[in-house]
């Protein structure tokens, strides 16, 4: 498998803010400079730019990747924008690795920048304008309200266990100085339960808060990383994605997601089982999405998510560390939702600081992208990362 021949040699992050006072291109520049400083490589060595979809600021510009290359003065042989919503971050790593392996490029700059609060240029063209906006279905919270109510009907749902997820992630954000300051305040399970309803049964503290910020990665072949002395690096050893899971079927169980298929593939490719997972960094646009991923990946059976959360210590020093930077929900949803990936890279490099996990044998990172009509989500991705041995 070609992914194993590539390495993530550096990561960079801006501070996540409620609303950026800087232009998105300035954030791009901060990330580039940080990565050049960390790796010691020259700008001229970067011969690939992979930017993410899920940028509301970049939306509407059909030349976004090229525009970004031009702003940064990058001359590249591979220029790509990955468009699978919240799967774009993991998807970008896989695509960069494939391009490196195919000889299309040697040193890739992966850039995840978005300032949706400062500047939202998005205009979607899909079913919503005809079939759901018409009924006042309020964006992702509305869709996850429908999903959650159905889950509760099928299996029962202990909302206090969603509260436990909220508190665990919030505690991690308290230790993450890159997280949005507004979210770096302790909360309790009762704060979660009592937070105001947005789209019943979705509460305010179930939801991500859109924020502004950027992250980036540098990738190259393992051979090249070794030659450059970049030994503290992270290897993506497996990846799978599934878009439009069961999309050619009519009535489906909406509590099943593409993570069921992608998870099996990625774990098999990595040669590990769920029992071997050392830390888990699932996409978290809503808390219920974490529970559904526990179930769909196979950490527990369908319907047993509440019990699984009750039975496990998900804090950074627990038996199954979860989103140790705070997740998107307590970091702020910025940087094209790349923070859970970047956090996994940081942990495997041993740079977790006060929130460093003990077991850095591997990390499991996922993505969720787009929301479909009355089901769960459009794309599911699963990636296993390991440190350089």
């Amino acid at each position: 498998m070609s992914l194993r021949d590539s390495a993530i040699v550096a990561y960079a992050e801006t501070k996540v803010v409620e609303k950026s006072d800087r232009d998105i291109f300035e954030l791009d520049g901060e990330i580039l400079e940080s990565l050049l400083n960390k790796t010691g490589i020259e700008k001229s060595e970067i011969d690939a730019l992979v930017v993410s979809g899920l940028t509301r600021t970049g939306a509407g510009n059909v030349f976004w990747a090229q525009t970004t290359a031009d702003e940064l003065g990058l001359e590249v042989d591979f220029c790509e924008q990955v468009h699978i919503g919240g799967c774009s971050a993991t998807g970008a790593v896989a695509r960069a690795a494939a391009a490196i392996d195919a000889g299309l490029c040697a040193t890739a700059f992966l850039l995840f920048a978005d300032t949706p609060v400062k500047e939202d240029n998005r205009r979607e063209r899909d079913f919503r304008g005809e079939w759901t906006d018409t009924y006042g279905l309020m964006g992702p919270p509305g869709s996850f309200g429908l999903l959650t109510r159905r889950y509760e009907h099928q299996y029962g749902l202990d909302y206090e266990m969603l509260g436990k997820l909220a508190v665990t992630q919030r505690n991690h954000a308290l230790l993450n100085d890159k997280a949005c300051e507004k979210l770096r305040k302790p909360i309790t399970v009762s704060d979660y339960i009592n937070s105001r309803m947005i789209a019943e049964p979705i509460r305010l503290l179930d939801c991500v808060m859109p924020c502004d910020g950027a992250t980036g990665l540098i990738m190259m072949s393992r051979k090249r990383a070794k030659e450059k002395g970049l030994s503290n690096c992270v290897i993506p050893i497996s990846y799978a994605e599934r878009t439009n899971y069961r999309g050619g079927e009519g009535m489906v169980d909406i509590t099943w997601s593409g993570h069921e298929a992608a998870g099996q593939h990625a774990l098999k490719q990595a040669g590990i089982t769920l029992k071997d997972v050392a830390s888990f960094h699932p996409y978290d646009d809503f808390l219920i999405a974490i529970m559904l991923q526990f179930e769909n990946l196979g950490f527990c059976k369908h319907g047993e998510g509440s019990q699984f959360i009750r039975d496990n210590d998900l804090s950074f020093n627990g038996n199954l560390p979860l989103n140790t930077g705070g997740g998107l929900i307590s970091t702020g949803q910025a940087a094209c939702s790349s923070h859970n990936l970047v956090e996994a890279v940081r942990q495997l490099m041993g740079e977790g600081g006060a929130r460093q996990v003990k077991d850095t044998r591997n990390a499991l990172v996922t993505g969720i992208g787009w929301i479909n009509y009355g089901r769960n989500w459009g794309s599911s991705s699963v990636m296993v990362l390991v440190p350089n041995e």
Binding site: F127, G129, E130, W131, T132, D133, T134, Y135, G136, L137, M138, G139, G142, G145, L146, L147, T148, R149, R150, H153, R196, M197, I198, A199, E200, P201, I202, G247, G248, E249, G250, M251, I254, Y373, G374
Partner: protein
């Protein structure tokens, strides 16, 4: 924000509907308060929302439009407490997914329904909200003729 024990019918919402050309048979049917949806001849299954092809076979030639009763049961629901911009002031209102008896899920609002009544499995039937262009918007209401259910 209104009394959260009641549900708004959303008849006052200022809806702007962006229609796709290939959904025209659906909207034309609503002029006579008929629910006309896509049916795949090859598989004998319905689909909604309208697509350019059968989602089962990938072929437009398998698609025909059939009138259905619109009766079914609530599959899930969410109560909006902070509305979509066109629905501000209508809160709280319910968005429901209804499984039609022909085996397809449809998202809409529910009218003439109290918060206490609304639950998954409740029988519903279609009702129609007039739109300015002479078409009608598909909504649902409790099927009280179905009795206690």
């Amino acid at each position: 924000m209104g009394d959260v024990s009641k549900l708004n019918d959303t008849a006052g919402a200022k809806r702007v509907i962006r229609r796709h050309g290939f959904a025209k048979p659906f909207w034309e049917g609503t002029r006579e308060k008929k629910l006309v949806i896509q049916y795949c001849r090859a598989t004998g299954k319905y689909q909604h929302f309208p697509r350019p092809v059968s989602i089962y076979t990938g072929r437009s030639s398998d698609i025909e439009w059939r009138e259905v009763s619109g009766r079914g049961e609530v599959f899930s629901y969410s109560i909006a407490r902070r509305g979509h911009p066109a629905f501000r002031g209508q809160e709280p209102y319910a968005v429901v997914i209804v499984t039609l008896d022909v085996g397809v899920n449809v998202i809409a609002n529910i009218m003439n329904c109290t918060r206490d009544e609304l639950r998954i499995g409740m029988r519903v039937g279609p009702c129609w909200l007039p739109l300015e262009d002479g078409t009608n918007l598909l909504m649902f209401e409790p099927d009280r003729a179905a009795g206690v259910n």
